[in-house]
């Protein structure tokens, strides 16, 4: 097997989550206007402030233009051709799984996320979002015992409207950017987590997003609030069937950490990425941002991006509280015709704030992988420090890797370090390992695992194993 063939066989494993579940849908008509937004809000029985929030966002959005600065190319999206609300017809009662369409439960089972009480993952609470709605949230009672609220955002709007009102849109305002504005107008579900003062969340919280409907976009919204001294680790996973059409996924995730609070947010993104020729796949246009509002707080983003036709995503941290810490650990893998423009923004406002950025891009096939990051040091951020490393690995000779680091410092006491490297997974490295007795595929996966190690060690244990498998599936056959 030649080097390219082996690379190919690592990268071109079939997408095993590409099946579609046949269920009946309760869909809204295609298109977007104020009536559709009112229908969404009404359907969900939302408080008035939410509808106002949505309409304001929509009016903002109408005045905005789609960003063209990312290093990605795609045909113009017809926003009037999308379905903005699509829910499985049988409305699940959230207390009991008996009400959930068995086909949906089976879907999650197939995805390795069993929702049944007796089969649930140990120590991980899951909120399962299917197209536009949350179908189940596990371990809710156990979490409630310590005061942790973990539910869908729709329920949160009904049960804890004041809490949601206090925080939603405070990190990512409705007019923040084109896709965030769109999300703010039409989001249909997502997760809400609230960790009260001094509570260390006793288990991992996780949301699993599944897009099943070919015609609908998925617009979910997640809000996580950690009160003073609270801490939580949260994981997000996602998959979608293989369709020849592209689906739009425009999510917004907001994190708020108060004094001494800590939020760790990990993503393993495995949306369908389209076929070898770039037909189909998810457009993953996501805005994620956290604010370290309190002193000594910490927000850490870890992302493993292996899917989507296009990824446009910059999980960021606003370091407002003195001594707060922001971290961004990322592995972005692109193959075939995938495109990724991803990175982070670390905005240092408080004194002695620290941020770390570790970005590892792997490009194979004819894909294009860009890191784009901003480190901004405000006037008052005395003693702020940033350390960034951006490494790219190229597999084969038809892919691209790009790095766009931006640094803006308004404080002379700040220290900013940036390192970048680009390497090619070489015939020499593979031959070296082979000459030690490792076969080609083991050699390649060892090299790649070594490359991403710094990031993978940040993942919660259960998911690190999963992510490692996913990576080798994604790159199977691409190195040779």
């Amino acid at each position: 097997m030649s080097e390219i063939d082996a690379l190919d066989s690592v990268v071109s494993q079939p997408y095993k989550y590409g099946f579609k579940t046949e269920i009946e849908y309760d869909d809204f008509p295609r298109g977007l206007n104020e009536d559709i937004i009112k229908m969404i809000s009404e359907k969900k029985g939302e408080p008035d402030f939410m509808l106002e929030f949505r309409l304001k966002a929509y009016r903002n959005w109408l005045k905005m233009t789609e960003p063209t600065w990312p290093n990605v190319e795609y045909p113009k999206i017809d926003y009037q051709d999308l379905v903005y609300y699509s829910a499985p017809k049988k409305k699940p009662k959230l207390d009991s799984l008996d009400e959930v369409d068995p086909a949906i439960l089976e879907t999650y089972e197939k995805l390795g996320i069993p929702l049944h009480e007796q089969k649930m993952m140990q120590n991980v609470a899951v909120d399962a979002v299917f197209d536009s709605v949350s179908v189940a949230t596990t371990f809710r009672k156990k979490l409630a015992e310590v005061g942790v609220i973990f539910c869908s955002i729709s329920e949160a709007l009904k049960d804890y409207p004041e809490l949601v009102k206090k925080y939603i849109g405070t990190v990512i305002p409705p007019g923040d950017n084109y896709f965030a504005a769109l999300n703010s107008a039409v989001f249909t579900d997502g997760s809400f987590c609230y960790i009260p003062k001094g509570v260390k969340c006793p288990m991992e919280l996780s949301t699993y997003f599944r897009i099943n409907n070919e015609e609908s976009g998925q617009f979910e919204r997640t809000l996580i609030v950690a009160e003073e001294g609270a801490s939580v680790s949260y994981l997000e996973g996602c998959t979608a069937p293989m369709f020849s059409k592209n689906q739009l996924h425009a999510a917004v995730v907001e994190l708020v950490a108060l004094d001494n609070a800590e939020i760790k947010y990990s993503t393993v993104q495995n949306w369908y990425s389209g076929d070898k020729n770039g037909v189909g796949g998810i457009y993953n246009f996501v805005t994620k941002r956290g604010i370290c509002k309190g002193v000594n707080s910490k927000i850490s983003w870890t992302q493993v991006e292996t899917g989507s036709a296009i990824t446009w995503k910059y999980p960021s941290v606003i370091l407002q509280g003195d001594n707060s810490i922001g971290e961004f650990y990322s592995v972005a893998v692109t193959n075939d015709k995938m495109q990724a423009d991803t990175g982070t923004k670390m905005i240092h406002l408080g004194k002695n704030t620290r941020s770390t950025i570790i970005s590892k891009g792997i490009s194979a096939g004819e894909s294009n992988n860009s890191y784009r990051g901003l480190v901004k040091i405000g006037k008052k951020a005395d003693g702020a420090r940033n350390y960034s490393v951006c490494d790219s690995m190229l597999i084969g000779d038809q892919c691209g890797a790009h790095t766009f680091p931006y640094i803006e410092s308004a404080n002379s006491t700040a220290s900013i370090e940036h390192e970048a490297s680009t390497s090619k997974i070489g015939e020499d490295q593979i031959f070296y390992l082979q000459s030690r007795g490792l076969d080609e595929e083991d050699a390649v996966s060892l090299i790649i695992n070594g490359f991403v190690k710094e990031v993978f060690k940040e993942l919660p244990m259960e998911f690190a194993v999963e992510a490692t498998k996913l990576l080798s599936i994604k790159l199977e056959g691409s190195v040779g």
């Binding site: 030690r436 490792l438 080609e440 060892l446």
Partner: protein, 253 residues
């Protein structure tokens, strides 16, 4: 153990080896010497199965088996080890991880049970002394940030751990200061025994002060132009490659 018959090999369409004949028996140390560009490094790579080189003619037998169709990893698992002239860096992969995976893949090949990490840790620690290596090396990434001498010692450590039948040492002495050369050479001496064959590729005679070859071959332009005992190396050192080669050419005429 190793028998090479009329071996021709090329890279990117350029013929480098033009008819090599060589036989190495168990327990023998063969030194292949030659000027730059003579093909001596190519010879070791071709035996190890480097995919960039194409064998156009001739055969390589290892323990009686023609290995031409075997990939580098298959040859390695049969017991051929190549110590690199320029050891490759593999960031993020620890030395112990690499050696354990390699060692276990060789064990699997021979139908033996894999060694678990704890057992392997004990095993590898025993080998560290051979090249006077600090145990901290085991946790460092393979050759990443190593000095030239450390890289070469690491190659010999791997040789000790993987315990092959045939060791191909490609300019293991290059770039070493005298102390490192001593450590590396003594390491090789401790590893070699009557069951192993050694092919030592070198430009300079000085490593042969420490490792005594049974045979010395002089390579020129892809052919072995002269073979002899260890005294040939000294003669090369004294007279230089040009004189030896010229005298060979003279004889040929």
């Amino acid at each position: 153990m190793l028998k090479i018959v009329n071996l021709h090999a090329e890279v990117d369409g350029t013929e480098i080896l033009k008819g090599i004949n060589l036989e190495i028996k168990a327990g023998e140390v063969h030194a292949v010497m030659g000027p730059n560009g003579s093909g001596k490094s190519t010879l070791s790579k071709v035996i190890a199965g480097h995919p960039a080189y194409e064998v156009t003619k001739g055969e390589i037998y290892f323990e009686g088996k023609n290995i031409e169709e075997l990939a580098a990893d298959e040859r390695a698992r049969l017991g051929i080890f190549l110590a690199f002239q320029y050891p490759v860096e593999i960031p993020g992969v620890s030395n112990s991880m690499l050696m354990r995976q390699a060692y276990n893949s060789i064990r699997r090949e021979h139908g033996e049970e894999e060694m678990d990490p704890l057992e392997f840790d004990d095993y590898v620690h025993q080998k560290l002394d051979i090249v006077e290596m600090d145990p901290k090396f085991l946790d460092r990434s393979v050759n990443d940030g190593f000095s030239g001498g450390e890289k070469k010692r690491n190659e010999i450590l791997q040789l000790a751990v993987l315990n092959p039948k045939l060791a191909l040492l490609d300019e293991t002495d290059s770039g070493l200061d005298i102390d490192a050369l001593k450590i590396v050479s003594e390491g090789i001496n401790k590893i070699k025994d009557s069951s192993k064959g050694v092919l030592l590729v070198t430009h300079y005679q000085r490593i042969l002060n420490y490792i005594t070859p049974d045979y010395v071959h002089v390579l020129k332009d892809g052919r072995i132009v002269k073979s002899g005992g260890k005294e040939l190396a000294l003669q090369l050192e004294a007279d230089g490659y040009d004189n030896i080669i010229e005298s060979v050419n003279g004889e040929a005429k």
